[in-house]
């Protein structure tokens, strides 16, 4: 490559680099700075250095604890549910009549904007007139205050997340299943394996790298969860359904203007996400080596 080409190549890439640097690196440095300072927009004072004060405050903060608790609950309940349902449905509709149509139908939830999904579910969860309470009443269950009571509000958000993102998990694993040569399982069945054994011993191990990929992507997405919480429960009742992003928003830009504390929380969140992104990149490279799909 001649020097002339190199110059043009760099010129071509500048329009990408400049905004990305300005809008990611600068905010990041600014946030690190703020996280070591007491800075509240509501008070007309310049940032004051307090060392690790903001980070220490996280440990004492009941709402932060509730946020971490709810995030952990999402990871422990919603995530495995999405993976299991995703695999189950992929396996269920395979070879079915009209599977293309069924597949497109199942994908709809992940295609509609989260805000729109939220208003649909907000109606479904309605205490007085909501269809969910109606279906439950058909089974003889009394009306449930879905969004007003603490365990049910958490359950409600989990349900919406499962509804919206199982299709994504399903699609990834379904494509994975499709890419496994049918001869592999056919040969096993000819050799006397049951279809369950073929799934467990041949297909699942081949899918494993892909399962890791969706697992990590979903994990990162759960840490970013915001729209649904904002729209459906406002993080409530109390702090029961605060997602990480929602709590940062609340502390920094909505109910409070405590930029210093919100920055410390953001740094914590970023640290976890960056770690996960690095793991993801490793898995993706591993996957490329395995040449699956």
């Amino acid at each position: 490559m001649t020097r002339r080409y190199r110059t043009s190549a760099i010129l071509l890439i500048l329009p990408l680099i400049i905004p990305l640097l300005a809008l990611t690196i600068y905010p990041f440095l600014n946030m690190i700075f703020m996280s070591f300072h007491a800075y509240d927009l509501a008070r007309n004072e310049p940032p004051r250095f307090i060392g690790l004060g903001n980070y220490a405050a996280i440990l004492q903060d009941g709402s932060a604890r509730s946020t971490i608790e709810f995030t952990a609950l999402l990871v422990i309940v919603a995530l495995p549910l999405e993976i299991l349902l995703g695999i189950g449905i992929a396996w269920l509709i395979r070879d079915m009549l009209g599977e293309r149509l069924i597949r497109s139908a199942i994908l709809l939830p992940m295609m509609i904007p989260a805000v729109v999904a939220s208003i649909a579910w907000k109606m479904l969860f309605n205490f007085e007139f909501g269809p969910i309470n109606y279906f439950l009443s058909l089974l003889g269950v009394a009306k449930v205050s879905w969004l007003g009571s603490y365990p049910f509000a958490r359950l409600g958000i989990i349900l919406i997340d499962v509804w919206q993102w199982t299709p994504f998990v399903f699609l990834v694993l379904y494509s994975g299943l499709q890419s496994i040569p049918p001869e592999l399982t056919e040969a096993a069945v000819v050799d006397g394996a049951s279809s369950w054994q073929a799934i467990r011993l041949i297909e699942l191990p081949l899918l494993r790298p892909l399962i890791w990929v969706v697992l990590i992507i979903r994990l990162i997405d759960i840490l970013k969860l915001f729209d649904i919480v904002f729209m459906v429960t406002w993080g409530g009742p109390g702090a029961a359904t605060h997602s990480f992003s929602y709590y940062i928003y609340k502390v920094g830009l909505s109910f409070g203007w405590d930029i210093g504390y919100a920055s410390a929380l953001s740094i914590l969140l970023l640290a976890v996400v960056v770690l996960l992104v690095n793991v993801l990149m490793k898995v993706l490279r591993l996957r490329a080596l395995l040449e699956l799909g």
């Binding site: 080409y5 890439i13 329009p15 905010p27 069924i102 805000v115 007139f129 940062i248």
Partner: protein
Amino acid sequence: MRHFRSFAWKVAKTILVLLVLFFFLFPIYWLVITAFKPVPDWFGWPPIIVPRALTLDNFLGLKGAGSGGFTGQVTGSVANIWPYLRNSVIVATITALLSMLIGAMAAYAISRFKVGGVQFTNWIISIRMLPPIASALPLYLIFSKLQLLNTLFVLILAHLVFTLPLSTWILITFFNDIPKELDEAAFVDGASPLQAFVSVILPLSAPGLAAVSTLAFIQSWGEFLLALILTSNPNAQTLPIFLGRYITAYRIAWGPMAAAGLINMVPVVIFSLIMQRYLIRGLTFGAVK
């Protein structure tokens, strides 16, 4: 007996699929029918699951809503949606075009001249995974100092941060598939890299360009958090924020809310269905082709 068992299995499978479809489609079905329900049918017990009557009133505005049996505080109607719709169209369209243009130039430089190497490409991709709230907070501070809050310009800029990495990355994979001999032939004929890019690469990657601009449009159209933080009135607020305002009302008029939701949903669902393949490829970083 064997026959019976395989028959029973087929029936069970069909029932399971129907249950799955019900779970995933019912919320959408409910939103769609509510958007077309007349006022008295919004709230009912038992809920009206098969609509008795359909109307366009929820879209056209609530003339005589008070007399139609719906009392209580009704927040707005869909008639106020125009400024939000206009902002969404402008922001999403410009974001889509800029992502395509900037993404294509960068992808060409990376694909053909290996600018920056693997680490650099990884950095670009990973930006997409970062939580928007983390950049929203400092961006809010900067733009409020620059007095640029509540402008479409700032919103487009913020959306670009999340659409550009995806566009660039998808286009890199597209350009890599175009044989190098083609642009080398152009170089031999005396073309500059820019000329080769415009006259050889771009025409050959039209489907890729269409895909990335559509995907950027979808992302920008549905984006909520940044719009919520960076805008404050109908001069710059987008459709998702309009929906957010409905939610906060004391008593929510379901019909117009669902109608607004439908308006917000339809374009992206159509685009997503068309671009299914690329959507998935992008969402999984190419783990699924």
